[in-house]
């Protein structure tokens, strides 16, 4: 089950003669079915994994109990030896041998199960990632189809022909034209404002008698002198007022 190959085939495949479809719609249907199958497959794999994990846990319990049992019997055997009951000790030792053999067998099964589980988990994870990727691609394909249909509908409504869809370069030109218009408008507004400011300022200067083409240098100095003495007077009055 090579999902990516199937995707590529579907995508590369048959653009219709009128060039309408982005991707062969039959290809999409097949792909959707493949993805559904793959998801089903993953679900079944997960169920299997659950069973194997349950089995592994059971074997682990067996191994643990065998270990414990061996330990116990070793204890009994040494007790028997202490009591010098050779016969009993031997009997227990034989039991220990049987238990150890069983333990070896179960340990081997356990290791095999552990390995299987690792492989299954990796395989499931990898397939899930692939499925996600396919889903993503499919979403994009469907979205693209949908956007195109919508654009065609709009274009057809306004011009009666779907072939007059704006190309990328035409759309870009429209945007640049809009931007340029905005800049031109701003420039115009700016220069009008500058002119107005300039005129207003000039009028103010003239009204204050400081317009450069009217006042002379000495006029200006005279005005400054008057202003200075006024402000000195003001500060003296202020000091007096605040002392009282």
């Amino acid at each position: 089950m090579n999902l990516f190959n199937k995707l590529l085939t579907a995508l590369r495949g048959a653009v219709t003669e009128t060039g309408e479809a982005i991707v062969d719609s039959q290809g999409i249907r097949i792909l959707e079915q493949e993805i559904r199958d793959a998801k089903e497959h993953v679900n079944r794999a997960k169920d299997s994994l659950t069973e194997v994990i349950a089995e592994q846990m059971a074997v682990q319990r067996k191994v643990n109990s065998l270990y414990a049992s061996i330990g116990e019997h070793e204890h009994y055997a040494s007790q028997a030896l202490e009591k010098n009951d050779e016969a009993l000790a031997l009997e227990i030792a034989e039991k220990i041998v049987a238990l150890s053999n069983e333990l070896d067998a179960q340990a081997a099964v356990l290791e095999s199960l552990d390995n299987n589980i690792v492989i299954m988990k990796q395989s499931i994870a990898a397939t899930e990632r692939k499925i996600q990727g396919m889903d993503r691609e499919l979403t994009l394909v469907k979205t693209t189809e949908s956007v195109h249909k919508a654009n065609e509908a709009v274009a057809a409504r306004f011009s009666g022909s779907s072939s007059s869809l704006l190309s990328a370069t035409e759309s870009l030109e429209r945007i640049k034209a809009k931007q340029q218009k905005k800049i031109d408008q701003m420039q115009a507004a700016l220069s009008i404002q500058q002119e107005e400011n300039g005129d207003r300022l000039q009028a103010k200067l003239q009204a204050a008698g400081i317009a450069t083409n009217k006042a002379s240098a000495s006029d200006i100095l005279e005005r400054l002198r008057i202003k200075r003495s006024e402000s000195l007077l003001n500060s003296l009055e202020y000091k007096q007022y605040h002392r009282d």
Partner: protein, 139 residues
């Protein structure tokens, strides 16, 4: 967190945001079952950005041109140019769906609104720039 909810929250966050000198965004969830967010950018409505969220990534896509817009003799040169442009162009990469060429960016699902905004703004700028750069190969 549910991807559908994430997408709705993103739509909300974007509707109050501006990018690139104050261009307003108009997000709208189209395709109810596909869960795709269409983001219109002021003064560039011809090139919306489409956003989808799944468990592995947030994907932002913009559409460039279609196969039939390419000057046939220039197709190979265009493809070479696109591949070469992938690295220098920040955040965005080029791809193709059927005969629609696209530009896209992918983000981690842990990205915050600012990161997504930045991605959308960059993608939008790159869209215009890519078309400008490839204009000589297009009809």
């Amino acid at each position: 967190m549910n991807n559908k909810i994430k997408l709705m929250q993103l739509a909300d966050a974007l509707s109050n945001a501006t990018i690139n000198n104050g261009a307003a965004l108009t997000p709208e969830i189209i395709e109810e079952d596909l869960q795709v967010l269409q983001v219109l950018i002021q003064d560039r409505e011809e090139f919306p950005v489409y956003v989808t969220i799944d468990d592995s990534q947030i994907l932002c896509v913009s559409y460039l041109w279609q196969e039939q817009e390419i000057i046939p003799e220039q197709r190979e040169a265009l493809l070479e140019a696109l591949l070469s442009l992938n690295i220098p162009m920040p955040l965005s990469s080029f791809s193709k769906i059927g005969h629609q060429y696209i530009i896209f960016g992918a983000l981690s699902t842990r990205s915050d609104t600012d990161a997504i905004l930045h991605e959308i703004a960059t993608l939008s700028d790159n869209t215009l720039e890519a078309i400008e750069l490839m204009a000589e190969y297009l009809k």
